[in-house]
Every structure is written in structure tokens, then in C-alpha cells.
Amino acid sequence: MEEIVKKKNGKSLAQFCNDASLKIKKLKVDEFEIYGASSTHNELELFNEQIDNLSFAETKGLGIRIFKDKRVGYSYTSILDEYNIDKCIDRAFSNSKITFQEEFNYLPLEREFKNSKGTIDKKILFSEDFFNFDIKQKIQLARELEILAKKKDKRVTGINNLIYNDSLDEVMILNSTGFFDSYRTTSAFIYLSVISKEKDDTSTGDFFGYNRSPGEFNLEEIAANAVNRSVWILGGKKIKSQVVDIVLDPFVAAQLLGIIAGIVTADTVQKGKSLLKDRIGDKIFKGDFDIIDDGTLSYGLASKPFDGEGVPKGKTVIFENGILKTYLYNTYTARKDKKFSTGNAVRSSYKSTPEVGVSNFYLKPSKTSLEKIIKSVDKGFYVIDIIGLHSGTNPISGQISVGAKGLWIDKGSFLKPVKEVTIATDLLSFCKSIDKIGDDLRFMPSGGYIGSPSMLVKDIALSGK
């Protein structure tokens, strides 16, 4: 099936970028940038060990930024014939005429790079093993996961969702300052959600694997986690509203950390939409925590040699010992603050312009085990899963109120399952109430690639009965 890729179109991504650049050079523009991306994508959904859906595709596209009179215009196309590329260029040009004029609107210059080039070995983004799996093996892998999960516990009655997808991506940037570079990445993702039943109660639980190659999945662990997260909640009940200490599973903690990731970007700060505006140098966390954005992390699935506008990626310590040290910048926001770009221009695809965002963003773990943290809790709530993160949190006002399920902790051990309750706080109080963190750093894809250890958070409002 992968044949589609090769036969589709003779031209490489580099040729498309080059051809487009020759066309733009004939126009009276000040500067330009071409962002090219191609992707080979497989997606598979199993149900009852049979293929429910299997899809495969190859796509290519160009996104063109045109700078004229310190204004920027953008246009993209997935139709890579001469006529449509011309149309795309024209439209980017005409779009530039209505956008605002500002002195900071020009392409990044090498002398503005804070991070040095070539700090990352492009090989780490790419797994040769990825190509050892044909579609049959991928189906087999997903089947194996389903079988493993069903065997784990007899209360598992079915599979809610079992999805496998992978992609082989190439990203390329060519701009009029002479920058021309590319990289290739492989990634494979598998997601399992199981349903379990006991008496009248039904519960779901999910888990995932995300690696450079399907060969790196730990199926046993994924199955066990999905099943446990489901069966542990069986028989769960609402409890009465109270203020309580909570322990957050690393993936729950990572989701909340993701909200902080959203307000350390210079863009939100400059627009007055961040609670961390004017707070550089302030102690935001009670504990001496370090939060880092590292676009070069060897095992980071968001690692890249350069960001969405060609600026080298690097490592930025955002919080050190709980103190806010810096924001994250792309070129435009850095110039506005008279700083250097931290290499945090992100683009979700060729369809979007470079915004500011995180790469591998994580809270540095401690040496305390989760077990020890749980033991230290006299009365508390261990949160296994949260629901409604996007609707229940407002990153601008800082309000957080999400649905939660998990286990009740009594005198340092788990007592009973709890569900249909909410936990609520506000973002800055949350930062101040994190009392301990664990040694179990785990990452999940959520915007960037966000990692956190378990957390013990003091005095959180829990609503139930």
C-alpha cells in the first residue's frame, strides 16, 4: 500500500520549494519563506480483533509567507501544480496588504539565534526500525494489544476504542535569507480504551503508547494500564464535597502542566492574556521546582533541529527553583521584548503560520517515589483521570474545574473508588499548593510533548454530593 507514495508525484518536496521560490523571486516582495511538509500516514482502528477502519495516505503541502513593506501575508496549498502554486503565491501577496505594518516583521537573522545550530543529531528523530513493520504486522500488533487487555481481568467486557496510527514526516523550510534545511521524523501511536463491567456499573479506562517506531511499544504495560484505570473505578461513588489533599497521576499532572505551558509563551504575555505577565523573578511555585522546555531532548517526541521559522531549537529553563526565569519566544515576540528567540515558533502544519508554543515541556522529577507520597497522605484523593479539561479550565482567568475519578486514600493506602466529582482551584493557587512531586516523570502528547511526575497538591476543593 505504501506504493501510493512513490508513484504519486515525481517531484520531491525540495523541488516544489525551489520551484516556488523561483516564482516568488520574480515578484516585488521584500522577503519570503516557504514551509513544505509531506507526510505518509497510516491509521488503523480495530474492533473485536477485526479491522474496523484502515486508511493510508500521502500528502504534501506548501505554506508561503510573504513579507512586503513590513507586512506579512500567508497562504497554503495542497494542490501542487503550477497554476495553484501561482495562485497561492498571489494570495499570500495580496493577504499581506491588509495586515498590520510593524518594524519587527522580517525573517529571523542568524545573529539573533540564541541556540547554536546543529545541537541535535537528526538521526534521533527517525527510527529505521519503523520500516520493518508492514501493514499486516501493525494490524497484528493492535490485535495483540486487544487480546492482552481482554486477558488481564475478567471484568473487561469490551474495547471502547483501539486505534493505531503512524506517520513518516518531512519538514522543510526555505527562505530568502538563504536558510534551507529539512528533517524527517517517524512516529507511531497506539491508543486503547477498555470497558469493564461489574454488577450494574460500567467503567472505561485508557492508555497509549507513543514512540518513534511501533517496535518500541510496551504492549504489556499499555494493556495493564488501560485495564487498571478502568477496573479500579468499578463501583465508584460520589463522595461528599470537601477540601482535600489530592495526588495526581503523572498524566493528569501533565495535562494541568499543559495549562501553564500555554501562559509562559511571550505571545500571551504581551497581549495581557497571561497571569504570569510582569512576574519574571517571582516565586510562582512553593516548592523548588524546575520546569524546562527542551527542543533537543534525545527521547522527546517534539524534538526538532529547528523551529517553525528555521531558528535552532534549544533548552530553556522557564522556572528554576520555583522562580519564573523567562518566557518562550518566537522571532517576532522576541524582538518586541528585545530578547532572542528561544526557538519556540511552532506550526501544527503547513496550513498555519508560526505561533509561539512549547516543544518537550516538563517538570523535573524529584527522588520521591509515588508509593512514599501516597503513604504520607492521611486522607486524600488519588486522581487517575480527569475529564473536561478544555471546557473546565480558562487559561486566561486561571480558573480550573474538572471532572475527576480515582481512589480514596485513607491512612496512606487506597480505600475505595470515587467518581463523578470535580476538583477546582485556580492556576496560581494550584502552583502554590503543589507540595511534593514524584520521581515518575511521564510524557504525553498534548499540544507539545508534556511531561510531569506525580504530584501531591494540598487543600483542593472537591465537589460531590
Binding site: 493510508f56 499581506s96 498590520f100 496550513k351 471546557s391 480558562n394 474545574s401
Partner: protein, 461 residues
């Protein structure tokens, strides 16, 4: 977009290895998006997409491939490779294709392509101006104006084909208000399956005024209460609760997977008898409306719950076939890159009889949830959460302080039985719904309703 001869060739190539159904979906799309923030046009972006998706069904399995092209050799090659996924001998052959028609006909007056970028910029500037002049507490306004024009061609091995086109326009406004350390936000959008004539009847400034009003009023908000309370849910966007907590559980794919609380419930009473719920993609120019679904099936009204009794699920081709039911025209897809799946369109709780004011008056102690920031549900168990973006306390029948940071948490099927009053002020609100990695334009709707108890997740214990 693809001629009949080639269409037949594609459909037959797909079926030659024994598949039972084949389909080609071709799409050409142009989008424009302009964003204004910080008082200036930050971004003006356009996009051009063209391609086709090929679908092959064999037994219970769907095989799918798409290409960014409408070239004959490229599509046929993809069809050949796709058909290799099945290993039987073919029997079905498509000999005739006939046009399917829809009764949903909605002329477009002002096509986005005929509107100048300058004019679009003016719309955003007026939006920005209006919000900023609303109150000195307003520190940021972000507005987006996007439009879409697309042509679609769908044909399948059952011999039907359709030609369709869509035009959509959306304006959304986010406002940030600040008073000392308190920061609040307000959001409002206007979205129609139509051209720019939408602004002839609805002023852009009304949208930004509403977003500004919410942000400013929420500055005075007190901490939300916690625990089980009576809740009055406001009209229009309040319908998101039904959409999330019940609608998704009525989508037939969830039923087939035994991942819905509504399995085996057709003909049974699942809600208080004042509840009637409808999915209707044929309401002219509504955001979730269409002439044909993503499988070329004409849109139609689907009554889901009538007077408390479950009437029907929401089907696409594959789930209807499997459950031996009629297709309902809800096989929607985000683009040619996606497989159609059963999804809602414009889904709402039907008009009731009561005066919304007297519903509020009947509450001794509770909350009035007027606007929501969205929600999430686990359809397998029906549990949901919703974030309230504009809410108030109700004390002795009077709406009092605004509340902040409140979430509603509960169980869909339980709530359906706890709806105790329905107002006579049915209204709709547009939004996007995500499912299976695909985004679809949806509208939710309802009149004001009273729910006897829902857990409110605030911080005031």
C-alpha cells in the same frame, strides 16, 4: 469534478477483489481566515485544497485511501492498491450512476470570493472597536473571520452520485477584561452555512458586544458553590449538554460497540415526557446544515426522542446497514482525508410551554448556567462535565451574583429524567464538535430548562 466514466472505473476497480461497497468523494476547497488581535490585523491567511478519498467496505472492515489530486492515473492507482487489501473475487459491478437530489436548497447571495479583503478587515475593525468601547475594563479583543467555499462530488457503488457545494462564514470574538488582579473572558460567535449576507441581518458589533458583556459582568463573579443543586440551563448554547451527554450516545457507532447507555432503548422511556429532541440538518443556513451528508445521502430531520420515548439513533451508511436500519443522512466527514462517521448536525431540545422567567422564579436555591465553554462526555457511561462561562446564583427565585469557575458534572441519562420544565424560548448556537480526530460544524439548541439536581463543581465548600 470526476466524469461518470472515470467514476465507474474507480468504483469497479475498488470492488474487483470482492468488496461490497465502494465510494469516491472528491472535494475542492478554498478557505480564508483573518485574525485581529491587539488592535491590528495579525494574520491574513488563505488555503487551497483539492483531493479525493476512496472507500472500500468488505464485511465489517472499511479500507480508505486519499490523494491530494483528481488526476485519473493517480486515483486509479490508489484504487488498485486499496482493492489489494481484500482477497476475494468480485461480483458487483457498477453499470449506472444516477443523480441523487436533496430538498435542501439555499441560494447564496454574497460569495466569500466576491468580498474584498478590505471589506473583511472593516468587519473585524468594527468588531474590535465596539468591544473596546464597551468598557474601560477591556484589555484585549481577539476576533476571527473565516470563510469557506467548497465543491463536492460523491458517487458510490450503489449507483448514486451527487454534486454539492457549501459556503460557510464564521465570526468569533474573544474578549479579556481586567480589574486589578481579576481577569475574565467572554466569547461569542456567529456562524452560518451561507455567504456574507449573514451580516445584513446580524450586525458584527452585536457579537462583540455580547462577548464584552460576559467578560465585564464576570469580573464581579464570586466563587461558585459546590454540591448538588437545582440548575436552570439557559437557551441556545445550553443545548451543548444534550449534544454531549446524550447525542453522542445516540450515534450508532457507539451503539454497535456496546459503548452507549442507549443501547436497546428504542421505544423505551429514557427521559421525562416533556422532552423531545431532534437532529435536523435541513434548517436553512444553520451552521450544522447541509444538503447531503459526507456519503452523498440527502439530509433529513431525525426525531431522536419524542415525549420522553427514544425514537431513533443517528446513522451513517455502514452502521445503518449493520443494524438493518434506514440511513439518516448523518455520515459526516471533515474532508476527503477522513472516513465518514455518524454525527449530529443541528441537535436540539424542542420548544416547551413555560415562560423562562417563571422557570427562574420557581427556584429557591440554585444556579443559572447561561453560557458554557464546552464540555466532554464518556459516551460508554454517559458521564459528562461542562464548564460554565457565564453563570449566576439563584436565590429565592431571583438571579443574583455571577459565579466563576463552575463546572457541571453528571450523567446524561440521569439528567434526561430530571428535566422538570422546558421554556418556550428555543434558540440555537454554533460550534465545532470533535470526534475521532475529525472536526465538524454543529449547532446545539434548546429553550431554557430546569434540572432538579446536578453536581456543581465550584470552590466554595
Amino acid at each position: 469534478m470526476i466524469n461518470t466514466t472515470l467514476t465507474k472505473k474507480i468504483l469497479n476497480t475498488l470492488l474487483k477483489t470482492g468488496g461490497s461497497f465502494s465510494e469516491v468523494f472528491a472535494q475542492k476547497k478554498e478557505v480564508n481566515n483573518i485574525r485581529l488581535e491587539d488592535g491590528k490585523i495579525e494574520n491574513s491567511s488563505s488555503g487551497f485544497e483539492l483531493g479525493c478519498g476512496l472507500r472500500l467496505i468488505y464485511k465489517d472492515s472499511t479500507f480508505y485511501a486519499y490523494v491530494d489530486s483528481l488526476q485519473q492515473d493517480i486515483i486509479l492507482n490508489a484504487a488498485k492498491i486499496l482493492s489489494a487489501a481484500v482477497n476475494e473475487t468480485g461480483e458487483i459491478k457498477v453499470l449506472n450512476l444516477s443523480n441523487v437530489y436533496s430538498s435542501y436548497i439555499t441560494p447564496i447571495k454574497k460569495h466569500p470570493s466576491e468580498i474584498t479583503a478590505e471589506h473583511k478587515k472593516e468587519i473585524l475593525l468594527s468588531v474590535d472597536n465596539f468591544a473596546r468601547n464597551y468598557s474601560h475594563y477591556i484589555i484585549q479583543v481577539s476576533s476571527n473571520l473565516s470563510d469557506l467555499e467548497e465543491e463536492i462530488y460523491i458517487a458510490n457503488s450503489e449507483g448514486s452520485m451527487c454534486h454539492d457545494s457549501n459556503t460557510k462564514v464564521m465570526l468569533s470574538v474573544s474578549v479579556v477584561a481586567r480589574e486589578k488582579k481579576e481577569i475574565r473572558t467572554g466569547y461569542k460567535s456567529l456562524a452560518r452555512t451561507s455567504g456574507y449576507e449573514v451580516f445584513d441581518s446580524q450586525k458584527p458589533s452585536v457579537v462583540s458586544g455580547e462577548a464584552a458583556r460576559i467578560a465585564v459582568i464576570m469580573l464581579k463573579a464570586v466563587n461558585a458553590p459546590s454540591g448538588s443543586l437545582q440548575v436552570v440551563i439557559g437557551p441556545a448554547f445550553g443545548g451543548v449538554i444534550f449534544h454531549e451527554a446524550c447525542g453522542h450516545g445516540l450515534e450508532a457507532d457507539a451503539i454497535l460497540k456496546d459503548a452507549s447507555v442507549f443501547k436497546d432503548k428504542i421505544g423505551k422511556k429514557i427521559a421525562n415526557n416533556i422532552v423531545t429532541a431532534i437532529d435536523n440538518p435541513t434548517m436553512p443556513y444553520h451552521w450544522g446544515s447541509y444538503a447531503f451528508d459526507g456519503e452523498g445521502f440527502p439530509s433529513q430531520e431525525n426525531i431522536l426522542i419524542k415525549e420522553g420515548i427514544l425514537q431513533n439513533y443517528i446513522f451513517d451508511y455502514k452502521t445503518a446497514k449493520k443494524m438493518n436500519k434506514k440511513q439518516t443522512g448523518n455520515g459526516r466527514r471533515q474532508s476527503y482525508r477522513d472516513i465518514p462517521i455518524p454525527r449530529m448536525s443541528n441537535t436540539y431540545l424542542a420548544q416547551g410551554k413555560e415562560d423562562p422567567g417563571s422557570i427562574l422564579k420557581s427556584v429557591k436555591k440554585g444556579i443559572y448556567a447561561k453560557e458554557f465553554s464546552g464540555g466532554q462526555v464518556d459516551p460508554a457511561i454517559g458521564d459528562f462535565v461542562f464548564g460554565i462561562s457565564e453563570g449566576y446564583m439563584i436565590e429565592d427565585g431571583v438571579v443574583t451574583n455571577p459565579i466563576k469557575g463552575a463546572t457541571l458534572i453528571g450523567n446524561g441519562p440521569e439528567i434526561l429524567n430530571k428535566i422538570e420544565a422546558i421554556g418556550n424560548n428555543l434558540d440555537f448556537a454554533p460550534g465545532f464538535c470533535g470526534k475521532g480526530g475529525q472536526s465538524a460544524s454543529n449547532e446545539v439548541g434548546q429553550p431554557t430548562i430546569l434540572v432538579s439536581e446536578i453536581t456543581v463543581g465550584g470552590t466554595e465548600i
